[in-house]
Symmetry: D2
Subunit: 149 residues, 4 copies
């Protein structure tokens, strides 16, 4: 694990903090429809601050939102933008490693560099890490659109 | 204005705080695609705390999110639920009074009582107020669904 | 019922056709997560053609879509636009009258006149009708945005 | 190109039909906000039928939908499900090869086998092909969720 961590440029302490925070964030989920709690934690480059979120569901299922988007939107309205983020971590209550849905990958893509790692945890806190670019290959972001005049 | 405010059970001071906060929240928007900044502020019943948010757009337009959902999701992951909210305020840079889109009305409906007021501001800080139930009549919320076993 | 229908400018035959079609459309739903089937039928002004749709859910709940948006998107890519629609009908398997979620009201608002009726059915085919403007008061549509140059 | 096509199990004729249809589908887009037309075409396994769609935007940007979801939802309400689809094609007006956004990749994932090819075209009709699994690695679909009782 440590080797993997060093590849992505995080210290063991940083990864442990992310793991703890995303598991804790799960507790804050509102998911009466899926009963599927998800937590997300985002580590800034500029400090050891971690911003977290959880899924917030709705009686009209498509209107609900995921943990990753809640956490990242919170970070963005605090002023963080592309270039601000060191790593993201997600966790569920499943034995399988949790991965962000495609919609969240697209939402994160707007603000995350392609080599930024995403640590996908299982219920017991073990993780697998992939980069933003590995999880959403051939993606498009802010650079792809013609600028608005 | 004061009369209107009393109808909805807020003091002038509370409304002024909401107005200030939703106008300020606009500044935190990420909206390079629409250039349409929106701010939202939510007042708790339990204290004078105001939780705010702004729109966060995406190169894939449907993947972005609105100010109201960012603010409310932040409140929900902090532990606030149906019964916690005293009022919501929204503001844009338009001369017209800003109203939440239908998706946000549905998102808010999950957590807001039908008589909770929503203060819709224009660019200069004047507002018009309607209740949750007036903005989304004949709506459905958590009570409408068969409980999950 | 007939009186109500005449108010909204539809004949009894047209309403019966809408009722039949939205109940039938329910059968085409893909909803393994909510088990909540919804059907939608849209009547054109230009002919007696009815375009229908149903909900299509996703393992990531927010990624799924509703019956109303499936039906209306189908109509739009067939070339129909604001001014083309005479009425919309929706149905579920519930005893209560089914109403569109806020997100669908906003989606429909882009293409429907404010006095266009929406017939909300219950499981047995009875209905209640409201206009687009009644279901999404103080809404904004294409006219509200500054034109893109 | 032919070799690539054979790898994915499509004949040259089938690919040409997909290319033609997704370029044509672009014409049906409703996109006054982005001015970014996208077309999508889906080839069934069971016949040479191609089902198509285009993006349908909304004044509230997050409420709009993409070409891929319009086309696939149309296919699903016609009764097609996981196992029915041979290939998907998308096209825009850009010189770059068009790829589905993350939200659409997740929507398609519900119904497409991981080895199903997606042909991503540029404005002039050239394409690059990747499989569903390549575009959304480590994804989750219907099999990942605990069954609803
Ligand atoms: Zn997600
Ligand atoms: Zn909104
Ligand atoms: Zn809906
Ligand atoms: Zn898309």
């Amino acid at each position: 694990l440590e080797t993997n961590a060093l590849i992505h440029g995080l210290s063991t302490v940083e990864i442990q903090a992310l793991t703890t925070k995303c598991l804790e964030a799960r507790e804050t989920a509102y998911c009466p429809y899926s009963l599927f709690r998800v937590g997300c934690a985002i580590l800034l480059k500029s400090s050891s601050t971690i911003i977290s979120g959880a899924n917030v569901e709705n009686a009209s299922y498509p209107v609900g939102t995921c943990a990753e988007r809640v956490a990242m939107a919170t970070a963005v309205v605090q002023g963080h933008r592309l270039g601000s983020f060191k790593a993201i971590a997600v966790a569920t209550d499943m034995d399988a490693f949790c991965s962000p849905c495609g919609m969240c990958r697209q939402f994160l893509r707007e603000f995350c560099e392609l080599d930024m790692p995403i640590f996908m945890h299982n219920a017991s806190g073990a993780y697998e890490a992939k980069t933003m670019g590995e999880l959403l290959p051939m993606s498009f972001g802010p650079d792809a659109l013609p600028p608005r005049e």
